[in-house]
């Protein structure tokens, strides 16, 4: 080609065709390159976003570890300090001994609860949780949950009521897990209520395909921005700088996993200053056919 230009001879048709062909190939290459560079940019942006997400997850994990560490160490601190006091001072007055031992026992329970919750969460996350479903009278389970938390309600002078809209069908669920959800909602409700003025109302109702439980408190309420995040693990409402969180940030996350595993849903309705209503629904069986299928499945499994 260079030779032909120097000689100033008109290029042959073949040569022209060759040049055109080359030019179009170059254009195609350049187009391809542009396309690839765009794809590369998109991939880089995706990677950057993924990286940011990982960093956020890492930060949340760090925060969680720090929270867990704090929550594990706090009861342990009281247990150790009071045990050492009792151990070193055999002459501690009897009333004081009783008082301190009472605290040690309570803190031990608190620590146990926390460890259990963490293990539960780990089981749910790894898919290793065991489920034992049976036909349940939800009202009965609710009454049992209220019974189990009655001391907490008494201590805090918070009233609790149960009301049911008519007779309710039974649901198919895991009794212990359902209990876990109820205990969590009840203890949350009693904790946010102002002592002496608190009121917690539990409502049971039945729709066409689901049974619904509402737990309403007259506490400070939850702003709409937090309605979803409180169900995420490691997240707590009122997470202001330096303030001590109330728990591990696992209770509601565990509750959501349980309810969703049972085929239902859980949510909160609330506004600041208006109290909060935590509700969950569990599916009701459509009728005998579904039950028969379940039984057959159970027989096969057995």
């Amino acid at each position: 080609m260079v030779a032909s230009v120097v000689q100033e001879e008109p290029p042959s048709l073949d040569e022209v065709m060759g040049i055109l062909d080359e030019a179009s190939q170059v254009r195609a290459y350049s187009h391809q390159l542009e396309q690839q560079s765009r794809e590369l940019e998109a991939a880089t942006a995706e990677l950057r976003a993924a990286n940011a997400q990982l960093q956020e997850l890492d930060r949340m994990k760090d925060d969680f570890m720090s929270t867990v560490s704090h929550e594990l160490r706090t009861p342990l601190t009281s247990i150790r300090a009071l045990s050492e006091i009792l151990h070193d001072d055999p002459r501690t007055a009897l009333a004081e001994r009783k008082h301190f031992l009472g605290i040690i026992l309570k803190e031990t329970e608190r620590l146990t609860r926390l460890i259990n919750q963490m293990l539960d969460m780990a089981k749910f996350e790894s898919g290793n949780a065991e489920w034992h479903t049976s036909e349940l009278d939800v009202r009965e389970v609710v009454e049992e949950a209220v019974d189990a938390t009655s001391q907490l309600f008494r201590e805090r002078e918070v009233d609790v009521t149960i009301s049911a809209a008519g007779p309710l069908r039974r649901v198919r669920a895991d009794r212990d897990r359902l209990m876990q959800v109820l205990l969590n909602l009840l203890s949350n409700a009693v904790k946010v209520c102002a002592p002496g003025e608190g009121r917690v109302e539990i409502g049971l109702s039945e729709g066409r395909s689901a049974l619904r439980v509402d737990v309403r408190d007259n506490g400070p309420g939850i702003g709409p921005a937090d309605h979803e995040t409180i169900f995420e693990k490691f997240r707590q409402v009122g997470e202001t700088a330096g303030a001590r969180p109330r728990g591990t940030g696992l209770g509601l996350a565990i509750s959501r996993r349980i309810v969703e595993h049972l085929g239902g849903r859980i949510w909160v309705e609330s506004a600041l200053g208006q109290g909060a209503t935590f509700s969950f629904e569990l599916p009701l069986e459509a009728g005998p056919p579904a039950a028969a299928v379940e039984r057959k499945a159970a027989q096969r499994a057995g």
Binding site: S69, R73, L76, T77, R80, L82, I103
Partner: protein, 130 residues
């Protein structure tokens, strides 16, 4: 004796055990359950030593420590930070802000008492080892 210790912690059971320990050593005790109350208590009557938790409502222990150190009247008050946050970055943050000691929970009651005695002695004798 007659030394006055301010205990700042939002965990009632920890306050109770610290109060018992300090009283057993013959110290006078004041308590505060959050950061703002701690500053008020210090302003009301300057303590000889502050046992300061980090995770506190209203104002955290780091900020309390910073405020105390920024005030010429309180600059020399020994501060023992007592916290369940044991990460190294937090320890150095506390010490960087002017805390005299950083002790993680759970603590040994004997060691804590010895550390407090040491800090009080050093404060009485500013030439002594800190």
């Amino acid at each position: 004796m007659g030394k006055r210790i301010l205990i700042v912690d939002d965990e009632p059971n920890i306050v109770l055990s610290l109060e018992f320990l300090m009283k057993r050593e013959g110290y006078e005790v004041a308590t505060a359950g959050d950061g703002e109350a701690a500053l008020e208590a210090i302003a009301a009557q300057t303590p000889d030593l502050v046992i300061l938790d980090v995770m506190l409502p209203k104002m955290n222990g780091f900020d309390v420590c910073r405020r105390v150190r920024a005030d010429p009247r309180w600059r020399a008050v020994p501060i023992l930070m007592l916290t369940a946050k044991g990460r190294e970055s937090e320890v150095s943050k506390g010490l960087g802000l002017g805390a005299d000691l950083y002790v993680t929970k759970p603590f040994s009651t004997k060691e804590l008492v010895a550390q407090i005695k040491g800090l009080l002695a050093a404060a009485r004798d500013p030439g002594g080892e800190r």
